[in-house]
Symmetry: C2
Subunit: 287 residues, 2 copies
């Protein structure tokens, strides 16, 4: 199969999927073109999915890989409280990979894209000995309203959406549901936020570092997923729930959320769990 | 070296480099944040650079790889007639790669970024058995002024910047100089344009397809780089010059450009060279 045929196939798939009205030009030129709306900020993130590191051909169907590749970026958009707009997909595959794999990959990705009204606006295609995916996601948010990691203040309450640790039990198989709706509902109400991709202990450490604060957690308050351990909930990673802080008395939307602790003045980044220091032991992409 | 140390190092390097005023938040949150200006469109492109496909560790220094990784995207921004704004860099490297390699890679990339006032606003970092780079570039252009592939009309003249075929002579070693200044000067004057990454025969074929036109070229008019052959100028690829069309009588800026042919009515995508059909034989990324 030649590149032009594959690109045409992807273009057809993308063309029959959701097209965000702000995308003036999608696949087919040197660049995609976006016309920003008035009074909006745009947010951007990019995430790798690599064969034998984030998935294997034995354990994942191509549609699951397509879903996961987009879901990780959408989770970052959710963390900023933004509405998804478009994505660019860079894909490298071995020449021996059957065309139906590529087809199923894009179908899985576009099913999730359609659900969240994300346009597939472009990307890159190459040949490589293993499958490599890099997805760039763009979201929009009203000016100055993006949720940052840096806004937590002593006295703020610390919350998470959903339950933690489920991914650590079955890391490779779980379907990520990006918390787009939750991020949108929290926008304008919370003081800081991020998504839980590398584990609560490491991610909360990062949020506290950016905010210049420390945190106190209570193990009894942490919502542990059915069948998971406290250890998995603290350090497991890949939960893709939202972690956020809010000033006391803030009216929060009616979501599945749990208060797990309080922001304190102290050494930036330090976390105490049940009065004992909690080391940031989450997932290191580079270890 | 842990991920946090590497990210901190990249953040320091990016922080001391150019910071575009429209980037509200760079490295350090879930997403980068851009505040668009009034009456502008934004353009986006993404390009892979893969070890042993686009470079080897024997033939390329890390600073050259950093330069090339950004230059390919900037060439796409130039093709749209846009001004570069920011980039996101996804990098995966083997654990055995020395930290000084990563340092030199980012320094090479940031030297080119500073030259064109591009902010390094974020990215992703992972570990993999070979070096993988994916760079997303964003540019801005006045509303509706982006140069597209689809605007060429019968009777328009066909031009290229610079000389062609030099890259085919020494494909891996040549330093790409993206034609940002030229693209900016051509914006608003030309009817269609793109960058020459995969060879004149294939790229002009694509431009003609998008415009629904055909083209007539004269071999004697094609500016062949010193020491290169006509064959290399037609099919070599990686020249990263600009290919564009303009209505007859258009006043073109004072640049190093050559008229190589004329747009004609005919079978979309068909190219005649000295009255003989020229097949699109340029570089297929997937072959």
């Amino acid at each position: 199969m030649r590149e032009t045929e594959i690109v045409q196939r992807i273009r057809d798939l993308a063309g029959s999927a959701h097209r965000n009205h702000s995308i003036l030009k999608g696949i087919g030129d040197d660049c995609a073109i976006l016309r920003p709306g008035p009074n909006e900020d745009l947010v951007f993130t990019t995430d790798f999915i690599l064969q034998d590191r984030h998935f294997t051909l034995d354990t994942h169907k191509p549609s699951q890989i397509g879903h996961k590749a987009l879901a990780r970026g959408l989770s970052d958009l959710a963390a900023m409280g933004s509405d998804p707009v478009f994505c660019l997909v860079s894909l490298a595959v071995p020449q021996t990979l059957p065309p139906r794999w590529i087809d199923a990959f894009y179908k899985g990705l576009l099913t999730l894209a359609n659900k969240h009204k994300v346009s597939l606006a472009g990307g890159d295609l190459s040949q490589f000995e293993k499958i490599i995916v890099d997805v760039m996601c763009c979201g929009r948010v009203s000016r100055g309203k993006a949720i940052l990691r840096s806004g937590a203040k002593p006295g703020d309450r610390i919350f998470v959406t959903g339950n933690l640790g489920a991914a650590a039990r079955s890391r490779w198989m779980r379907k990520i549901e990006p918390r787009i709706m939750e991020g949108r509902a929290l926008r304008g109400r919370v003081s800081a936020g991020m998504d839980l991709s590398d584990g609560l202990s490491l991610d909360l450490h990062r949020l506290c570092l950016e905010s210049g604060v420390s945190a106190v957690l209570e193990s009894g308050a942490i919502p542990i997923a059915h069948g998971a351990t406290l250890e998995q909930a603290l350090h497991g990673g890949e939960d893709y729930e939202l972690l956020f802080t809010a000033a006391p008395g803030t009216k929060l939307p009616d979501l599945s959320i749990s208060q797990i602790g309080i922001v304190t003045k102290g050494k930036p980044g330090e976390i105490m769990l049940d009065k004992i220091p909690l080391p940031p032991r989450g997932f290191d992409h580079f270890a």
